[in-house]
């Protein structure tokens, strides 16, 4: 009965982990089920719609399209593809630029560093370029951690007609920077925009808008307290310095208990409009339509439609992943019981020995002393972490003064055995044995500074560290891969034999 119970529990636990590993945590649901953000109006020759970022916690972000009034189906227009490294981990924050360009932020394959990517409209479909148009900068530059947001303007009056104002990231810190291009494909950095900002202010997103007065930058800024505000500045013709006209902050009338996450200014009839991502108190996001007044300096942004695009239907949970923590906890508790049972078993064996004064009873007393002392010192010092008490001193004495040196001593004994074994067993009796011994001795010398010291005046190819690197990276790697390959092929062959019942005779003999 006990055995049957153990088999059933083990089988169920194994089945659970296999299913949990194989099945997705959630099934179905919309591609924007967990949130929407960063929308842009798209007005091509043939269609008008909104492109925005759809978020799912279990998938990479994708760019979706939906009708201008937020109704109708939501279809992906840019999704990650295994052949494109620069948006392999997702695409977000699109910006439509007339007549056929969609700039967006791609999350790269290497370490998800965000970078500016471009898709072109070809035969009514968006075709992403194979490589990013602007990648992260070098170490120390304001965009060394990537590009968080980009706003592209095609300005025919500028030296180079294409200009991109972007939020360069250095860690979590953002800086508004400028890049220029003659074709919108290959960009040259022009450095940070000289915005006067308070210490600790962090730009989140930036939008460049051309007006009769010049280029106006709309910047969403987060202050150290987490509050966000929008400011506008009028730029000089160089694109990096401010002419002096500043609106800070732009008055923002939002629904109660909502915060702005990002916004994108686009042109609309009549004049400008903005699509902003608003988040409520629970973190649920939606895209709202806002409208600024028609002339600069803008001082107000008013919400026209607070929930233009809301997240889509939620997927159905498979439950398996939701209860994962509880199942893990149960296994840890069972494991802890095993530790407790082991302690009880040890106590019984040693207790009997002490009571009967059998051979080795002093060691048994040492066992009890060590267990009780270590447990009581540890429990007391953990429950009184701030107090430097007798228990803390006792713990330090036992752990650092006894346990640590004993553990180190156990491993140190290996050195003695190693010396003795190498001296007695390492005999060269054949050519192959000689090769093995030579490479072993070279590696031993290369692993310590004395190898370098002995050969540092020789030509590089005779220096021991160089030889060691060659042996390890070339010969050793080849052998390790060959052995691993052999092991896996052998395991596959064995599995197939068992599966096809070709090892039935052997199995019967075991039974």
């Amino acid at each position: 009965m006990k055995r049957r119970l153990i088999v059933i529990v083990t089988f169920l636990a194994g089945l659970y982990y296999v299913l949990e590993f194989m099945l997705p945590p959630r099934i179905g649901g919309a591609p924007d089920a967990d949130g929407v953000e960063a929308a842009t109006p798209v007005h091509t020759r043939t269609a008008r719609y909104i492109a925005y970022t759809g978020l799912r916690t279990d998938r990479s972000p994708v760019i979706l399209r939906v009708a201008e009034d937020g109704s109708g189906p939501r279809t992906p227009i840019i999704s990650p593809h295994f052949a494109r490294h620069d948006d392999y981990r997702g695409a977000r924050a699109p910006q439509f630029v007339q007549p056929d360009r969609l700039y967006y932020i791609g999350l790269g394959w290497d370490d998800r560093t965000p970078r500016a990517c471009l898709a072109r409209l070809v035969n009514g479909r968006w075709r992403p370029m194979p490589k990013a148009v602007l990648r992260d900068g070098g170490p120390g530059e304001p965009d060394s951690s990537g590009i968080g947001w980009a706003s592209v303007l095609n300005d025919p009056d500028a030296d180079k007609p294409w200009r991109m104002w972007y939020v360069g990231l250095q860690g979590d810190r953002g800086t508004v920077c400028l890049a220029e291009s003659s074709d919108g494909l290959s960009w040259a950095r022009r450095g940070p925009v000289r915005l006067t900002q308070q210490n600790g202010d962090n730009p989140i997103c930036v939008n460049a808008v051309r007006t009769a007065e010049g280029t106006v930058l709309w910047t969403l800024i987060e202050d150290p307290s987490g509050a966000r505000r929008i400011r506008t500045v009028l730029l000089r013709s160089d694109g990096t310095s401010v002419s002096g006209v500043v609106t800070d902050p732009v008055a923002l009338s939002l629904p109660r208990d909502t915060q702005i996450r990002d916004f994108r200014i686009g042109s609309d009839q009549p004049g400008l409009s903005a699509l902003a991502t608003l988040a409520d108190g629970s973190g649920r996001t939606s895209i709202a339509l806002l409208r600024p007044p028609l002339q600069f300096p803008e001082t107000r942004l008013s919400v026209v439609r607070p929930s233009l695009i809301a997240p889509g239907p939620k997927p159905t949970s498979t439950i398996l992943s939701d209860i994962r923590m509880q199942v893990d906890d149960i296994l840890v508790v069972i494991g802890s019981f095993a530790v407790g049972l082991g302690l009880i078993g040890l106590a019984r064996v040693h207790g009997k020995r002490v009571v009967a004064l059998q051979k080795g009873w002093p060691e048994s007393i040492a066992f009890f002393l060590a267990t009780v002392a270590m447990a009581s010192f540890t429990i007391y010092s953990r429950t009184h972490p701030e107090a430097r008490t007798w228990a803390t001193r006792g713990y330090d004495l036992l752990f650092y003064g006894l346990f640590q040196p004993l553990g180190s001593s156990m491993f140190s004994l290996l050195a003695c055995y190693l010396v003795s074994a190498a001296y007695r067993a390492f005999r060269v009796r054949s050519f192959e044995g000689g090769l093995l011994a030579t490479s072993a001795l070279l590696i031993m010398l290369g692993q310590v500074p004395i190898g370098n010291w002995l050969t540092q005046s020789l030509p590089p190819f005779l220096q021991i560290p160089k030889i060691m690197a060659w042996v390890l990276f070339v010969n050793n790697n080849a052998v390790v891969r060959a052995v691993n390959f052999g092991i896996f092929v052998g395991a596959l062959a064995t599995a197939l034999r068992v599966w096809l019942s070709m090892d039935r005779a052997a199995m019967r003999s075991v039974e």
């Binding site: 998800r112 250095q170 296994l331 180190s408």
Partner: protein, 279 residues
Amino acid sequence: MNWAERLQRIDNRVLYVTLAVAVAIPVFARVRMPIPPTIETLGAYNAVENVPPGKLVMVQSTWDAGTIGECEGQCHAVIEHLMRRGQPFVIWTSNPASPPFYNRIVEAAAKRHGRVYGRDWVDFGYKVPGNALGFGIQSMARDFPGYMKSDVRGTPVREIPALKGVRNATDFALIVTIGYNPIGEFIQFVQSVYGTKVVFGIAAINSTTTYSYIDSKQIVGMLVGARGGAEYEMLVKRPGRGVQIIMAQSFGHLLIIVLVVMANVSALLQRRSARGVRA
């Protein structure tokens, strides 16, 4: 018994005493030799050096008393580098005996550089049992706050300033794992899925099977035994236990090489003289 035979039958006690003397010489005589960094150590150093400011680093430390000789220098150098740069990091272990060892190093470095717990570093202590690393690391990579829940002081992850906004493995720029064995699960479940860079710090004996991961760029660097620790300590210009130990190890290796060569030469001479007698 002639001298060639004698050279092959040196008593174990003599060998042990010779080893003890050889290892003690550099400790007491303060022998110093240049320690140039190898490619694998440079890879580890550059990986930490190139982490963007403010980005989180994860350090998994599983070494304890048995592997203190190989791993203490590695841990010391990496923590020193992170603390000096002010790079926020989390540290945890899958070995219940490990926290007191790494804590001593982390706390000393934090004091030296004026770093604050919760803002510059966070300790999660013993989290994932060693026999369930695959599942644990997979869950942690998928949902870091959900799996780790709270640090050793009981503060929930979401309330720790350094971990503000952390969701999964993508929020970590680098993972450094230091211990006797390489933790391949970080390659399997983190590097290949989320793209987070991984550095191994392991015992020298286990390193031969992991060089292929450097070749395939699945790990960006590796600290090999006491040598890796010593090289990294020299790179961060703070020589410590790693440098001390590698000097002692130098003389130990030299002794083994001398003994092996001596035993082989004497065996060769003995075989030749035996052949001469038969002829």
